[in-house]
Amino acid sequence: MANTSYQLDFEAPLRDLQERIYQLETDDQDSASARDELRAARKALLDKTRDVYSHLDEWQTVRVARHPDRPMFTDYVDLICDEFVELHGDKFFGDDRALRTGFAKIDEFKVMMVGHHKGKTLKERNECYFGCAHPEGYRKAMLKMKKAAKYGLPIICMIDTPGAYPGIGAEERGQAQVIAESMLEMSRLETPIICVVIGEGGSGGALGIGVGDRVAVLEFSYYSVISPEGCAGILWKSHDYAENAAKALKLTSRHLERLGAIDDVIEEPTGGAHRDHYQMAARLKMYLVKTLRELTELPPDELVAQRYEKFRKIGMYLEEAASV
């Protein structure tokens, strides 16, 4: 388990147990009783971790989804892909670092990888605007995805953004326009598309690369129409109500699945992806390879027709018998 410097309050009992284990490990372990104690402490930590993580509420889930140690796009690329050949630029304005694209190999598949990246160091996070892409990011993604369809490469989109960037330049360069076009184009690309929310699925910025044949969400990721803070600011008139908003928005993987908005939930390792990058990457890879095998069997027109029907069915409303 990673020794994380970033702490979540509800993980306090886990930290105490972890410290106890470090203590025991550095102590003399010659006696059988010391070894028994260490074993018991490790078991207690595992049990407690399982316990805490099986009862995460919506707001706690949001905070896990935002955990700085949570694996990001580049981690998955390193751990899942045999090769990644980054392709830069939207051939129009620039190269958005918050949205990355490139050729990649995953087992027997050659694919186009597309993903938000939040950045690891402060410098990188600033370059990436903390994962908030500008219009050039979505234009780049759209361009590379079209190339992928042209050359028969399946597309994998990894979604991890608080939202598309809200700024003057972003508006001047058509943020609304590019997100709309990206959804429209993705809906008709004749190649398999798998979208996975790996952390934050923030609103239109997420959906801008989110129209696929399969939409999956990692267990402790969230996907929402608006950030809990944004929603709280509007409906409760204060960001302090983000917790209430998170609960009301039903933005966790299980709710999303129940509402029919996503296709699959990918389980995370005990205690969340941030505790075990390797395990998480292995599970994600298994899901991707299995799904790629299924989707590449289908003829492209069939794929596009099914994708349309899938999104077409989303929504809940009442329909009165038509009056004549």
Binding site: A180, E181, V211, W236, A261, G315, M316, S323
Partner: protein, 295 residues
């Protein structure tokens, strides 16, 4: 399917919840709606004008030409040939899939909005004639929960677009939405953006002509889906149009926003809309465009 008379909506939209409009336009906000009855204060020039004169002028300020709020029913009245509107899918009603509750239950909010506006949800859709040309038409009303798109708006628009595709009709959608995707229906609202955009992709492939008309305000998930996908995009003058709300942007960049930011004229200058069209000319401009495109 219901045909004919639509209940006229005389209420001004309640924007008190609106993140975008709460401080926009700010000049006369405190006075909004105060001079009731015979008089009305223009949000843009601040002049007190005769309500009846405004109403006779398509809710355009007779002093400065500012395009004020117009209900969906009135928009249809001004856009279509008299008596030609036939409503489609008027039997769709909002559900409460999230059992959403903020300070007020969504289910109650829906009922009170329905009472106040005479609408079942934020969109009216159907067919009618524009100077004797049959069209499929959709209008969102910014008075109903900020004109936001939930499942009903998404479904009605998707059905509208599919019917326009089947019947080879030109499609006109007039957007008025400060709310974008409706928070109260959570992820389902967000997904309506993809659903409607996908329907427009098919319409496009079938060779359809989609004229998108942007009115004040067109923001968030509505701007970032169907509203921006017109083959031709028209906007009424001075409409607020954009992805992120001015307040959100201001809070993020901590700078004052330039004069006229996110207004129709700003979007025209940056290349995102084809024409700014005055309300009084909209019908003729749309008819002319349909003719140019041979539809």
């Amino acid at each position: 399917m219901a045909t004919g008379e639509l209940k006229e909506n005389r209420d001004q939209p309640d924007n008190s919840d609106d993140p975008l409009l709460g401080d926009e336009p700010k000049k006369h906000r405190a006075k909004r709606g105060v001079p009731s009855g015979l008089w009305l204060r223009c949000d843009d020039c601040g002049e007190t004008v005769f309500r009846k004169t405004v109403a006779e002028n398509m809710s355009v300020c007779p002093v400065c030409g500012y395009h004020m709020y117009l209900s969906a029913a009135d928009r249809i009245r001004y856009l279509l040939d008299e008596g030609t509107f036939e409503e489609w899918d008027g039997n769709l009603m909002p559900a409460d899939p999230l059992e959403f509750f903020d300070k007020k239950a969504y289910a109650e909010r829906v009922v009170s909005e329905q009472k106040r506006t005479g609408l079942r949800d934020a969109a009216l859709t159907g067919t009618g004639m524009i100077r004797a040309r049959r069209v499929a038409v959709g209008v969102t009303d910014s008075a109903f929960i900020m004109g936001s798109m939930g499942s009903v708006v998404g479904e009605r628009l998707a059905r509208l677009i599919e019917r326009a595709t089947e019947q080879d009709l030109p499609l006109v959608i007039v957007s008025g939405s400060g709310g974008g995707a409706r928070m109260h229906e959570g992820i389902l609202s967000l997904m309506q953006m993809a659903k409607v955009s996908a329907a427009l992709a098919r319409y496009d492939e079938a060779g359809g002509l989609f004229i998108s008309v942007l009115t004040n305000p067109t923001m968030g998930g509505v701007a970032a889906s169907f509203a921006s996908l017109g083959d031709l995009v028209f906007a009424e003058p001075k409409a607020l149009i954009g992805f992120a709300g001015p307040r959100t942007i201001k809070a993020t960049i901590r700078l004052e926003l330039p004069e006229g930011f996110q207004r129709s004229e700003f979007l025209l200058a940056h290349g995102y809309i084809d024409r700014i069209v005055k309300r009084a000319d909209m019908k003729s401009e749309i008819a002319r465009t349909i003719d140019y495109c041979g539809k």
